[in-house]
């Protein structure tokens, strides 16, 4: 029996500059933020980042780690526009951007999961997604309809990171909130070796169904190479039902954008040390707010 437990820093140590990484979750919901913070601590850079974007994008862009961004949107949900992402786009700091329809992104990950070169879709036809991504091609149906469709290419990942509610030490993991999002496809789109699940709690296998039905077991160990115990690991994004989004903290994060001094102060207070230092600083801030 393989015990796949590791730390965020050990997981991130498997990355090299220039790799393509997928980050699960959706917007400011159930993001593997402790892993993102570990990437910030590491020196790894020139990343291609594939994501339904939230503060994962903002933090990595603010730190200058993103060479290429593949996304359908970037939003903080309760704050519609991600300020660090906006600043990076508007200053031309992201060398390459691939903006896709949300469904096209799903299809690209699914094609990679199924080891297909592409999957057909109508989403994107007629829109500027095709104009701005000249590498995207169309394909004609071989049947009588002869319809021309977008041939959404597989988005193959070098590494994938998702955050779940529970996992055992081998990588059988459950989501207890309302939506899996596309976490299974992020894991599926990555080759074996760098597929990581962080979880609020690591539990014995026999306890996996204590808090949810079998329907919550959508991630199994064949999809996972490393398991990270990360309590509050999604902070400040939501991780229902363990905790909701830390709206006050998210606002502090967003307000610090666009002002070099305030961002430097935010970085010094929260992002200069270890994950434990981060969580301690968050608790101190919450205490100050009363």
């Amino acid at each position: 029996m393989t015990d796949k437990r590791c730390t965020e820093d050990e997981a991130v140590a498997t990355l090299s500059d220039g790799m393509t990484i997928g980050i699960g979750g959706w917007g400011s919901r159930r993001k593997p933020m402790s892993v993102v913070r570990a990437i910030l601590r590491s020196g790894v850079t020139d990343l291609s980042v594939v994501t339904y974007g939230g503060p994962d994008v903002g933090l990595l862009c603010a730190a200058g780690r993103v060479r290429k961004l593949v996304y359908g949107f970037v939003s903080l949900d309760s704050i519609a526009l991600e300020p660090h992402f906006r600043a990076a786009r508007q200053s031309g700091a992201i060398p390459e951007t691939v903006e896709l329809d949300e469904g096209m992104l799903q299809w690209g990950l699914y094609a990679a999961t199924l080891r297909l070169p592409f999957l057909p879709t109508r989403s994107g036809l007629g829109s500027d997604v095709l104009a701005f991504n000249p590498g995207l091609r169309t394909v004609r149906s071989p049947y009588d309809d002869a319809e021309e469709l977008v041939a959404m290419p597989a988005i193959t990942l070098d590494a994938a990171f998702v955050h779940l509610n529970r996992s055992d030490a081998r990588g059988n993991a459950s989501f207890l909130g309302p939506d899996l999002y596309f976490d299974d496809l992020f894991l599926g789109a990555a080759g074996a070796g760098r597929r990581f699940v962080s979880a609020e709690r690591i539990v014995p296998t026999e306890d996996l169904l204590r808090e949810g039905t079998f329907h919550t077991l959508r991630i199994n160990r064949s999809m996972v190479d490393g398991v990270i115990e990360a309590p509050s690991g999604a902070h400040f994004t939501s991780c229902e039902p363990d905790y909701g989004r830390d709206e006050a903290f998210q606002k502090e994060y967003a307000d610090a954008a666009g002002d070099a001094d305030r961002w430097a102060a935010f970085t010094a207070r929260y992002l200069a040390g270890s994950e434990r230092d981060y969580q301690d600083a968050v608790r101190r801030t919450a205490g100050d707010r009363g």
Binding site: V74, R89, E99, G103, Q106, R122, L125, G126, S127, D179
Partner: protein, 248 residues
């Protein structure tokens, strides 16, 4: 005097008239309220969501959490309903043009935007697959432009160019704003003034629109809520959150 937010909620509800048993999906407070209002009154078979991942039965107030779940609609199922055509969405629009092209991606050149917005989100797929309407809470010539900077959602010419299937399934039914209701029933699917809200002059709408609107000889006035709709609005938005989004 009829309340402007009520007029807008009713106009959005009207976009769903005749839709039957499909997902009435609203992005934001007024679109969500409009969908629930339609379901509570004249379009009872609609499915509406809690804005997260569940279809809810009964009259769930905006911001309410005491819900009766009748189905599960995680994002993956949203995309299935979307590609299957069992959905009508009311989205926002940062820019809209006379052909019905919509932009929520960015202002300025895509390679280096002057203002980065959300990204195209689901707009290309929505508009290629099913009926779409738009809600614009601030009707100005900055939103209604001659040509959008990025085509996120398809207008009529783009849909026609995307092939016969997309052309047949594409429909921009209405644009509801804080001043008026627009549609694309002008010649060649050009944007047409369908009604003006009470107290708004046709000239005001024309002046706040940065392209040439098709203006019929007689422009009706947008209707206010019926007694049944007013009662439903009181149930569906007891906190009056709609008034925060639409200022009279």
């Amino acid at each position: 005097m009829v309340d402007l937010a009520d007029i807008c909620a009713v106009a959005i509800a009207e976009t769903f008239r005749g839709d039957g048993e499909i997902f009435a999906s609203g992005m934001g407070t007024l679109p969500m309220l409009g969908a629930r209002l339609a379901r509570a009154t004249f379009e009872p078979d609609l499915l509406v969501s809690d804005g997260e991942a569940f279809y809810v039965a009964g009259d769930l107030p905006i911001g309410g959490t005491d819900k009766t779940v009748e189905g599960w609609i995680p994002f993956r199922s949203v995309f299935d309903a979307l590609w299957g055509g069992r959905r009508h969405v009311v989205m926002g629009a940062s820019q809209l043009d006379a052909e019905g092209n919509q932009n929520i991606s960015n202002i300025g050149p895509w390679s280096k935007p002057t203002v980065q917005l959300l990204g195209v989100r689901g707009a290309p797929g929505n508009t290629a697959n099913h009926v779409t309407s738009y809600w614009v809470p601030n009707h100005t010539a900055r939103v209604f432009v001659p040509h959008v900077d990025v085509v996120s959602g398809l207008g009529y010419r783009r849909a026609a160019e995307a092939g016969a299937w997309v052309d047949a399934h594409h429909e921009i039914r209405r644009v509801v704003t804080n001043k008026a209701v627009l549609d694309f029933e002008g010649p060649g699917h050009r944007c047409r003034l369908r009604s003006v809200h009470p107290g708004v002059a046709v000239e005001d709408v024309v002046a706040a629109t940065g392209f040439e609107l098709v203006v019929p000889a007689d422009v009706p006035t947008s209707r206010g809520p019926t007694a049944e709709e007013a009662a439903a609005l009181a149930v569906l938005d007891p906190q009056g959150l709609r008034h925060r989004e639409v200022k009279a």
